[in-house]
């Protein structure tokens, strides 16, 4: 999915949120268009499979429903990631509680990541995806947020619910594990 680039002429997230609160519905559409791909990618990286779009939609609906609680201490995208992560976690807990679906376990994450497995056109890229899939869930979340989304360690700590220092350690452990996987 092509990710829209923010040009200097476009309003920032804060301005769009203000316009949304003032009743401009197009502002919400712009924000969804701007961030949907990143949220979708992050949700997929957390292990969600068939229900990625549902989680992404729920993320935006919840974000806009409580947008007055957004204090702009972090970026809007970071806030979306935090909501998305909570939704994925709640869904995983619910699945485990109901025992209706197959529990999401590390083994499954390592072998059934449909979102990343869709098209394997290049063997090198496939090996890179495999290397990331081998990471622990937290390492993978931290690594994806750092490398594909460009978040700072402070932002990552907010999303993942850890400290800045721990996020840094997770990143370096992930980098080390990926290098070792690719060197094998």
């Amino acid at each position: 999915m092509p990710e829209p680039l923010l040009t200097p002429a476009e309003p920032g997230d804060g301005a769009l949120i203000a316009r949304w609160e003032a009743g401009d519905e197009r502002a919400a559409s712009q924000l969804v268009t701007r961030h949907a791909a990143a949220v979708s990618r992050f949700v997929a990286s957390l292990g969600a499979r068939q229900d990625v779009e549902e989680i992404v939609q729920d993320t935006f609906v919840r974000a806009f429903a409580s947008v007055e609680g957004f204090r702009a201490e972090s970026s809007f995208r970071t806030w979306l990631f935090t909501i998305a992560r909570n939704l994925v976690r709640d869904r995983a807990r619910s699945d485990r509680t109901r025992r209706v679906t197959v529990p999401i376990l590390e083994e499954h994450l390592a072998t059934e990541h449909d979102a990343l497995d869709r098209v394997v056109a290049d063997e090198t890229e496939d090996r890179m995806r495999s290397a990331v899939r081998e990471l622990s869930p937290t390492q993978r979340a931290v690594f994806m947020l750092r490398v594909t989304e460009g978040l700072s360690y402070r932002e990552i700590a907010t999303v993942v619910g850890t400290t800045e220092g721990a996020a840094r350690v997770h990143y370096h452990h992930a980098m080390r594990a990926i290098k070792e996987f690719l060197d094998d």
């Binding site: 979708s40 292990g47 992404v56 460009g150 290098k179």
Partner: protein, 221 residues
């Protein structure tokens, strides 16, 4: 290849990749890269990983935006429901006010009765909003007192809950309260005090606080 010992520079490589470094940091990292093969290789690996992992599952942006808009249009409905609840509460308050006034009047009448004063005809007070109210004193509709013996419902019809008797007395329905005095027996100051007390109930919060986001903490999966 062993990792470069400059962890501070390696920390910044993703930021260089996303072009989010300030000028001085960027210059420092780029200077380091000219002499460090390990970091140069790691930057290339990060660039390849970013490309390999950039594929996002397709989502229907239009549908998501529509869901956001739909949720917003539902919000005023919810607000209306809240207002409805408030209206109900307001009606309840009116009924409570009437009940309080009637109880006060009853007490007043009893106090008078204990001093040998004649007891006024009974007053019926509706136990809930919307139920007809019959009022008491002296209450002879034909005597030109101006105060109706039987309150009429909104449609103007005489109340079916109690049949007027020749002497002006009213048959009490089973749900009504029979009290010994009329509202008009209360001093104006007492009535005002009761109404003021009811009005203070507006301080009750009208909405529950919005649920806070569940704090993140443990591993997701």
């Amino acid at each position: 290849m062993t990792d470069c010992p400059r962890a501070d520079v390696r920390d910044l490589l993703p930021d260089l990749l996303h072009d989010t470094l300030d000028v001085s940091s960027r210059a420092e990292v780029e200077r380091h890269l000219t002499t460090c093969a390990s970091c140069t290789q790691e930057l290339e690996l990060l660039r390849s990983l970013r490309s390999a992992l950039s594929d996002a599952p397709a989502v229907d942006v239009t549908r998501i935006a529509a869901a956001v808009h739909a949720a917003r249009t539902m919000a005023p409905v919810a607000g209306h429901e809240r207002r409805g609840a408030t209206d109900w509460r307001h009606d309840w308050r009116v009924a409570a006010a009437i009940l309080l006034v009637a109880l006060g009047a009853g007490g007043y009448a009893l106090a008078h009765a204990s001093h040998g004063s004649p007891v006024t005809p009974p007053v019926q007070v509706a136990s809930r909003p919307g139920q007809p109210v019959t009022a008491g004193p002296p209450l002879n509709p034909g005597a030109g007192q101006g105060s109706p013996a039987v309150a009429t419902p909104p449609n103007g019809a005489a109340t079916p809950s109690g049949a007027a008797r020749p002497g002006g007395a009213v048959a009490a329905p089973s749900t009504g309260l029979m009290l010994g005095a009329g509202v008009s027996d209360l001093p104006t100051a007492d009535i005002q005090a009761l109404l003021d007390a009811v009005n203070e109930m507006d301080a009750i919060p009208r909405a529950d606080p919005a649920p806070a986001l569940e704090p993140a903490g443990e591993d997701i999966l």
